[in-house]
């Protein structure tokens, strides 16, 4: 079948890859430059350690573990090493990839695993703080660890008491950082980093909102390689500037009718992290002219959203856009905590209905034909409530297909069965494969 739309590669693609490569290289080589390394999660408030200086480099666990998952052979070695050390194989597969990399002392980007100087983590699910407790078991108890608890409930029920609890821990964390690093904390750097944090995450939402266009300018497989920068260091000026450049390019694609999938005739969304070693399922969908335009995960793990005057979802207005000038540390921390607690991919930890409502909104506003739910055995946090989401989507009139797998452990993903389920789903919805 002849393609309906024009397509072309993203111009900023190479830059995205370069930023990611530099990030992992900078962490590994931090000590050579006299800098520091910190390890934590993609949900960590990375704007805070930024106050210690520009030579303090993070390694966020989830994207690092996803990179391992992409290398199936190494991922298997990691899992086996972790199981040999006595840990259960049903634990978070990101965590197991990460631990395996330490046990084997291999950095997936080459060389030995770079030991962090300190741990700066957020506890968002049952495993996040425990993850780094075990890192200390494996690497040495001499690694100082600080972990923030953000579990104060959904944003719509945020009270002063709840915000104070999070902000109070942030203040304590800054004192702790000064103590364990021997460095003076610079509030100006913090304020700049908070501003970048808000800018990158709002801009990412703008990018995702542009995908409402038909044809979609981006497909989800490509979006994974772009949103990841926000999971690495959303508070860096480099990431914020890049996301702005990306937004401008995607806007231009929409204006010119450039499609991610030139034969687009069916639009779906996914849910939770994909099986990283098998992103080709998204290419398989394209044989049916099907584009996955995103998901609550891709949109809302990093992106910050708000309901606009016309009732639709759009990028959240940043404090700067609202004319707020951050003047001191306490204000910066309050802005940061309040901003981050509103992220869509946090609300569902408290309410499956809240997630279902957001998913139904996406299905309507992004003009979707169906939903692919990944029952992800590798992540209990983002799988929380997923069965209720399935029921709600069906009730709202959207066809749903479920496939079971694991974001980081290919032993729990059945590729052939998944492709057959996709065939059955597409055919049941009246879509046919393009002739080869």
């Amino acid at each position: 079948m002849k393609p309906t739309y024009k397509t072309e590669p993203l111009r900023c693609w190479a830059k995205a890859k370069e930023i990611r490569q530099d990030y992992y290289k900078n962490y590994a080589l931090a000590h050579e430059k006299g800098g520091l390394r910190w390890a934590g999660g993609a949900w960590s408030f990375d704007a805070i350690p930024a106050g210690l200086g520009d030579d303090v480099y993070p390694l966020t666990g989830e994207p690092y573990a996803a990179a391992i998952a992409w290398d199936k052979e190494f991922a298997l070695q990691c899992h086996e090493a972790v199981e040999k050390a006595g840990y259960a194989r049903d634990l978070c597969s990101y965590m197991r990839n990460y631990w395996g990399s330490i046990i084997l002392n291999k950095y997936v980007f080459g060389g030995e695993f770079p030991k962090p100087d300190f741990i700066w983590q957020d506890h968002i699910c049952c495993s996040h703080a425990k993850w780094y407790q075990v890192v200390r078991d494996l690497e040495g108890q001499d690694i100082p660890m600080y972990c923030l608890d953000v579990s104060v409930g959904p944003y719509e029920e945020l009270t002063d008491n709840r915000l104070d609890y999070v902000v109070g821990q942030m203040h304590d964390g800054i004192e702790w950082l000064e103590k364990v690093t021997g460095r003076r904390f610079d509030d100006e750097r913090l304020i700049r980093a908070v501003s970048n944090h808000c800018r990158s995450t709002a801009l990412w939402a703008e990018v995702c909102a542009l995908n409402k266009a038909i044809p979609a300018p981006l497909d989800e497989k490509t979006m994974y390689s772009l949103y990841v920068l926000g999971t690495l260091q959303k508070s860096s000026g480099i990431v914020a500037d890049f996301t702005e450049e990306l937004r401008d390019e995607v806007k231009d694609r929409v204006a010119r009718g450039i499609a991610a999938v030139p034969n687009e005739r069916c639009r779906v969304m996914s849910d939770t992290q994909p099986p990283w070693g098998f992103l080709k399922i998204f290419r398989y969908l394209e044989q049916y002219g099907c584009v996955s335009v995103g998901s609550l995960y891709t949109f809302g793990l990093i992106g910050q959203w708000e309901v606009k005057a016309d009732g639709t979802w759009g990028a959240r207005t940043t404090p700067e856009q609202m004319g707020i000038v951050i003047r001191d540390r306490d204000q910066a921390l309050r802005v940061l905590a309040s901003w981050e607690l509103k992220k869509p991919e946090w609300q569902h930890f408290y309410s499956p209905q809240a997630k279902s409502e957001m998913m139904i909104r996406i299905a309507k506003e992004w003009t979707l034909d169906g939903v692919l739910l990944h029952y992800n055995r590798g992540c209990e946090g983002l799988s929380l409530g997923i069965a209720e989401n399935r029921l709600a989507m069906i009730k709202a009139g959207f066809p749903v297909i479920v496939f079971e797998g694991n974001m980081g452990d290919e032993r729990e993903f059945d590729e052939i069965q998944t492709l057959k389920r996709i065939d059955a789903f597409m055919e049941s919805q009246g879509f046919e494969k393009d002739s080869q």
């Binding site: 049903d90 634990l91 425990k130 009270t159 609890y165 499956p352 209990e380 069965a387």
Partner: protein, 374 residues
């Protein structure tokens, strides 16, 4: 002399229905032992812990993904099957994601007039935890007052604290008796006792327990020496499993799980304002692993229990898919090994494969006894 606890445990629903009829008061089902029962008692509400029934079921599959723990699915099944139809409300105090899933699905599909999510802090080792929880308990108190139409006074809170503390003290006194070379209470009896305490009016429980305690020291010795075991894990009220283990010449003398000692070990202090005292009690109690960080404080406690109760072996019963407990298992095994206490890990599901577990326990006991087999 332990029969009343068995009756309460087995007849939990009947008890709650009769209590409600007798008192005309409300009953709240709760999902985690971090729930501050003191406040509910102060409002004359009966807190009842929602537990599973250990029966195969097929009602939760559409609601909970299969990689969530069997306990949360078993709990939700009770609600979907209408076994807790007498509940006026439900609540959870924030703990693990799995039981939270049971709570949110229950709230969605089994409507009750009152539901409450208490965001119990996880960062218990932070100096911010007690002030924060105190504020949250105030908000919870207000919600209970609005729901029940009663004012919870300081006197009422002190009464709640006193009742809960007495229950904790008496239960711990029974546990202390189990230090003896000839423990007067079996692990099975202790399990039913603690589980029953989570299901009945604490005042009735306290009276029955006081009466039992008065007579326990004189309880007749059992046949022959038994291997002294401790049981570690998350929730565990699988009485069939405990009965099986104790039928093999072993006896559980101590435990650390949330239908055991972790539920009652610490009392609330009486030298602070009541709400702050309640908050401090739940922050300082022996932690669930999901809240036990950055330092692992629970392991030191487990080691001390093993020493004080003269434990020869530990059985770690793990709810399948329970990540926080699973993550701690290698560290617990290592710590116990350093103290010369071997451990056996078993994974629990809704029902237990008794035959297979029996073989493993027999082998474990043989190792502990250093038996000459041939």
């Amino acid at each position: 002399m332990m029969d009343s606890f068995k009756e309460w445990y087995e007849g939990r629903h009947q008890y709650a229905r009769e209590w409600k009829k007798r008192t005309g008061k409300k009953v709240v089902g709760y999902f985690c032992t971090y729930v501050p029962e003191e406040i509910l008692i102060a409002a004359d509400v009966l807190p009842v812990r929602i537990l599973g029934s250990h029966e195969p079921q097929d009602v939760t599959e559409p609601h909970i993904f299969g990689m969530f723990c069997p306990f949360c699915r078993d709990c939700l099944a009770q609600g979907l099957q209408g076994r807790y139809e007498y509940l006026d409300g439900i609540m959870i105090s924030q703990s693990c994601l799995h039981i939270r899933q049971a709570y949110t699905s229950w709230k969605l599909h089994v409507p009750v007039e009152f539901s409450y999510y208490l965001p119990m802090p996880h960062h218990l080792q932070s100096r911010r935890a007690v002030p924060y929880l105190t504020g949250e308990l105030e908000a919870f108190k207000k919600a209970v007052e609005e729901w029940t139409g009663t004012t919870i006074t300081e006197e009422g809170l002190n009464r709640g604290i006193a009742i809960m503390n007495r229950s904790r003290r008496l239960t711990r006194a029974v546990y202390d008796l189990r230090r003896r070379p000839d423990p007067p209470v079996t692990g099975l009896e202790a399990m039913r006792m603690v589980a029953a305490s989570q299901m009945v009016d604490k005042r009735e429980y306290n009276e029955a327990l006081q009466e039992t305690l008065d007579r326990l020291p004189d309880r007749a010795e059992r046949d022959g020496p038994r291997v002294r075991l401790m049981m570690l894990g998350s929730e565990n009220d699988d009485v069939a499993f405990v009965e099986m283990v104790e039928s093999l010449g072993a006896i559980f003398v101590i435990d650390d799980h949330c239908t055991g000692s972790r539920y009652f070990w610490n009392e609330a202090s009486t030298d602070r304002k009541p709400m702050e005292s309640i908050a401090a009690r739940y922050v300082d109690r022996i932690p669930c692993p999901t809240k036990d960080w950055p330092e692992r404080r629970r392991i030191g406690h487990i080691r001390q229990l093993a020493k004080d109760w003269n434990v020869k072996g530990a059985i770690i019963v793990q709810q399948k898919f329970c990540d926080p407990h699973e993550i701690d298992i290698p560290a617990i095994i290592k710590a116990l090994k350093e103290d010369g206490v071997p451990a056996q890990v078993l994974e629990l599901d809704v029902t237990v494969p008794l035959g297979q577990f029996k073989t493993r326990i027999e082998a474990f006991l043989e190792i502990l006894r250093e038996e000459d087999l041939f």
